[in-house]
Point group: C2
Chain length 324, copies 2
């Protein structure tokens, strides 16, 4: 399937793998790129040594890199480090990308800017980024509350109104060919997929956690600040993280003040649980699309199954054959 | 466009108009049905005289009726009253529909059951309703937090797994042909549209409020309990209502205890503002799709524009032509 996105990046299907912090290493990113999608290392909060290692693992396969943009504010030298690896794209989320754009453009690297509100989408369009990702709150990990379904066409309309050349991708709640086709129907040029790749064999996630998480559905996820609070990561107030519910999250969600009061003790508990992959405490960052993921697969297997669905294409009769 | 939904109800496009309480009267429902969709009177909380009047207004045009199901618990005779009007369908939301099904089936009236969680979807499938509506929190009015994008295919998979004959529709964030096509791509047989019909000329909404609301986008909506609190309507805790933000809502959202404390005074303020259509206080129940609605149209105009979009069909090349 050919779209403006596949032509822009030279992909064989309009799928970008979300640069999930701590989860999307060089092996996952390279596997996605080899299979025809756009693979991205999850630079996240910015651990220079880890990022270097992951680019080494990706080797000759062209991959991009994502950052939680405020990490760059704290460690601006990371940008030079990553640009030196000639990334296929830079994927920026959660803070104003303006301070970094000149340098990234000078390096000839495409900029993908993920936004969570229409207001931030307009800012990204003003900056002339190459791709804007309209991320709905359906997504796993950090985000805000707009739903993917209406957010994507609202941004697409704004792009059309401006006659902008910026491409648009949809993110949030997309795990398979149905979601990619829906994204295209809504006016997007492609889709960003996170949760299904979180469960991929190349992702840096404890396999016990993956197995336990896949037994759950979208109802079992929640947007919360509990996980950031216990990890002492100071996110701006408008962002929360969608996670799988755990007893720990249920206990403290809505009582973050209580959690702060008991933080030293609860932090120890959290860290021990992470080491043990204890599902009563640990709450992995997954989206509502977890209900669409049945089993861990290789990244190539994920891409192959999406490609097969896209090749069948959009056939309402297929979904709505009359039972008779 | 023909789907299982259009065949089941004899529609000429797979669109159901949401039975918005106080808003969807006989004129709107009849206009939608005449244009080829499924029009529904918003029986809501159950005002017997109002419902009777609206069926009279619809006249010979076949329309259905929706209820907030717990209204039926309080006034079960309403069901007999509506069934006597031979409605085209009964649309039940927000409470267990089980107590009413035998009577509705005995009258030969199809049952549409709107749900907001996968768990409730399974319950509706167990009951064998004719149509399940998977409503995402993107929707206006009452609902919960699941996003439309992943919720719909999760329910569609469950229907397929069971080999169930129940049809599925998507609701939440859908306002135009793009949304209807996305719903079908996600595995639905049709789409429920609320907000765009809220702004239709036949809807029972003050036209000043419509004009003011259409100046806003999806970012300007919020899920809140403030409007129910000030109206003294006791909704179960898991439901909130998506409304357009107003100063009044911003003031009390998150401080519902303070609102309760000052309720007599604030209730007077609210009622006066409703009479005046004062947009600093009144917060109409609209969804994120308000950002996709540009101007009031007749219901027939809405249907015609959706039909035109559907007839163009799903053409990725149309959305993703290479700029060159």
């Amino acid at each position: 399937m050919r779209t403006r996105l596949t032509d822009f990046f030279g992909l064989s299907l309009p799928v970008i793998q979300a640069p999930m912090a701590f989860v999307a290493g060089g092996a996952l990113a390279a596997a996605v790129s080899r299979a025809g999608g756009l693979g991205l290392i999850g630079g996240g909060y910015g651990d220079a040594g880890w990022i270097e290692t992951q680019f080494d693992i990706a080797g000759d396969v062209p991959v991009g890199c994502g950052f939680i943009s405020f990490a760059l504010q704290e460690r601006p030298w990371l940008l030079d480090q990553v640009l030196a690896r000639k990334p296929r794209a830079l994927f920026l989320s959660f803070a104003d990308p303006a301070p970094w754009l000149d340098k990234v453009r000078a390096a000839g690297v495409p900029v993908i800017c993920q936004v969570q509100t229409f207001r931030d989408a307009c800012h990204a369009l003003n900056l002339g980024v190459d791709v804007v990702v309209a991320q709905g709150g359906d997504a796993g990990g950090h985000g805000q509350s707009r739903g993917t379904m209406a957010f994507v066409p609202e941004v697409a309309d704004e792009i059309a109104r401006r006659g902008s050349a910026t491409l648009i991708c949809a993110a949030g709640g997309i795990a398979d060919a149905r979601g990619v086709l829906a994204a295209l129907a809504l006016g997007a040029d492609g889709a960003v997929i996170g949760t299904r790749f979180w469960a991929a064999q190349e992702a840096l996630v404890d396999e016990r956690l993956v197995a336990l998480t896949l037994a759950h559905g979208g109802d079992d996820t929640i947007r919360t600040r509990v996980v950031d609070t216990v990890r002492r990561i100071d996110w701006p107030g408008r962002y929360s993280g969608r996670v799988l519910r755990s007893s720990f999250v249920e206990r403290w969600h809505g009582d973050e003040a209580g959690l702060l009061h008991d933080l030293p003790e609860q932090e120890k508990r959290w860290q021990a649980a992470v080491a043990e992959a204890d599902p009563s405490v640990v709450a992995p960052f997954v989206g509502e699309a977890i209900g669409l993921v049945q089993a861990p697969q290789s990244a190539a297997g994920v891409i192959a199954s999406i490609r097969a669905g896209l090749q069948k294409g959009f056939r309402p009769d297929q979904y709505s054959a009359i039972d008779s």
